[in-house]
Symmetry: C2
Subunit: 377 residues, 2 copies
């Protein structure tokens, strides 16, 4: 089927670019000698995960229990749920474990660990946990040099109902880097924070089998992963405008775009209006602080997927996107009402989130497949 036959807005996924992005990261991790535990919160698709995994059953990373349930049902067994667990979610966790899922949890708090251990003892389960380390002040986790890290590891190690598996961190601040050297600095901090904290724990005679770091920027530039057992990265499979702004990839590495239709010519304002708005594109403004602010997305020719110079999605309402031009006179005849465009996303994870499926296209631009996505929590 041709793109022209699709109802818009919808997601278009270029299989060749996807495959290239997957291979590039796989080769990088193989060269660095570590396991890759892809964060599938970007794609939320078993088909994409299978391409990454070459038919393996993991390891993968998820951001919600709904994803864990969906991917376990899709054949993935080794799953890290990378948002701090709370006692109210342990029933669902146990449901997955009882069904055979090797689900791993994270936390950063002694009282929570005690509650998890209690719940484990009460139900005859042993919950596997990693301690979250905060390498850059970005979000959650304990600072690597906080004595609470070793104390927590020791307490988990010595408790029934809970098992200490290791440490993980995420250099979220790498997304606001200005140079690739800055990204390398974040990567080094990720590694150092885990290796140093793991060393102190190991010195207590407690094994730290999983030493997990990662983000797409740091995974793309790190050159020494000594002491690290696995890398997590997500958005690299699709890439996006934020990653282009960071120098992680080029525009033609972006595998996912939103197909949209021109619905109005606003001649007095020199702008096009399309049917991809704030829901279809997301309101993520991740490029706002970068050198090139891409508004709500860059505009591409629908058939070729090549960026059209000077066009940008300058504003969005719920179901309207407003496309402005840097030219004084927009040539409306190039973009008739009813014609299609593609929009490259600022942040692929957020843009994909509103959509139920991907229209998968091959090099010839024809739709070869429809891949469903997991949504909700």
């Amino acid at each position: 089927m041709n793109l022209a036959r699709l109802q818009t807005p919808c997601l278009v996924l270029d299989r060749d670019i996807l495959q290239r992005n997957i291979e590039r990261m796989r080769e990088r991790m193989q060269a660095l000698g570590v396991s890759l535990r892809p964060h599938i919160k970007t794609a939320k698709s078993v088909e994409v995960a299978r391409l990454i995994m070459h038919g393996g059953s993991g390891p993968i990373t998820v951001s919600t229990l709904r994803e864990a349930e969906y991917f376990f049902a899709g054949g993935f067994a080794d799953i890290l749920y990378a948002v701090s667990v709370v006692p109210g979610k342990l029933d669902r966790v146990r449901g997955l474990m009882n069904a055979g899922c090797d689900l791993k949890l994270i936390l950063d708090d002694a009282a929570t660990a005690a509650e998890v251990a209690n719940a484990g003892r009460e139900t005859g389960a042993t919950f596997k946990v990693l301690i979250e380390i905060d390498c850059d002040g970005h979000r959650a986790g304990l600072r690597p040099d906080d004595p609470a890290v070793t104390a927590l590891a020791k307490s988990i190690h010595e408790s029934d109902g809970i098992e200490f598996l290791g440490l993980m961190t995420h250099a979220g601040d790498s997304y606001s880097s200005r140079t690739t050297d800055e990204i390398r600095g974040h990567a080094a901090r990720e590694v150092l924070s885990i290796v140093s904290a793991a060393g102190r724990i190991a010195a207590q005679g407690i094994p730290v089998p999983i030493r997990s770091v990662g983000s797409t920027p740091t995974a793309s530039f790190v050159d020494d992963l000594s002491g690290i057992s696995e890398v997590r990265a997500g958005v690299y499979v699709f890439q996006d405008l934020v990653m282009v702004g960071l120098g992680v990839c080029k525009l033609n590495d972006i595998a996912m775009s939103v197909l949209t239709t021109v619905v109005s010519h606003k001649r007095d304002h020199q702008r096009l209006i399309v049917d991809a708005g704030g829901i279809a594109l997301s309101k993520d403004r991740g490029t706002a602080e970068q050198a090139l602010d891409c508004g709500y997305g860059l505009v591409c020719d629908a058939a070729s997927g090549i960026v059209i110079d000077g066009l940008i999605v300058s504003d969005v309402n719920q179901e309207h996107g407003l496309i402005g031009s840097s030219e004084r006179e927009l040539d409306f005849s190039r973009f008739p009402i009813g014609s299609q465009l593609r929009i490259l996303p600022n942040h692929a994870c957020m843009t994909a989130a509103a959509h139920e499926c991907y229209q998968v296209v091959a090099g010839d631009g024809r739709v070869q497949d429809v891949w469903q996505r997991c949504q909700g929590w």
Copy 2:
């Protein structure tokens, strides 16, 4: 069921507040002597639409054909699809019409009108259309004084396969008003733009039965709707922080919130981390330009729904919300890990969009019902 039993994040909808918001707008429109055509893109729920409609089958407004299909299946027949139609969507439009749906379309372009008329003649259908008028330069539509308006109405009126039903406009710029007087100005412009353009069309002997205006801000403050046949408004059923900032409502008029769980205490940064992030809350920053910037939402006690002074969602990642405090020392003991909070949304339409259903609570705070939502396109 108690809220404490719910898996988070999820939407909580207070049925009493919802009912009060619905009644207030209904009474307002009755007093002004016009029909209300609610925009159900906010709620996307047949249950909410039934409460608004008192069991009637319309009129309603939708923003996608998926909504039109969903609400028609739910018993609503008189539907205005309020995004410019394009020829590629007419097959779905005709499917609805053939099934008995009284679907009305909008457009603002002569060439598109000719294509729609052609499609009508070819398939034996008569597509009903309104012309979109641009009253404030906000989005799409023809300026009310543009001679193209009357010419387009005349051409549609004289064509087979298409029927001219009237004019519609939306004062989208009312959302950036600083005072209620400004909103009244937008309301007056909405009315004037439709009445003036309709007058010129009627002077050509062409009937203009539908003269449609509206937005929640203008509908809340307009005091003269002479010459207008119907008002469209959507977010008033739920209200949100943008509407509070505009003076349209008070905080305790907000019917919808996101229930979330505290997952981490980030003591070194004096912030809480919750499991409602950019997907569950949306990345809408509609209050950013208002007098009170609410970040990504205000934080409420989960049980009472009352705002907790000084707490704000200051940042979001995909599945993490970061809550900061205006106090120097955040009292973490008030918000244990595992405890719940509710977040009031900046923009209810965008926040609701990511969720599959509403947990409907009554005055006693117990969940009485689960109402499904329509998603996608």
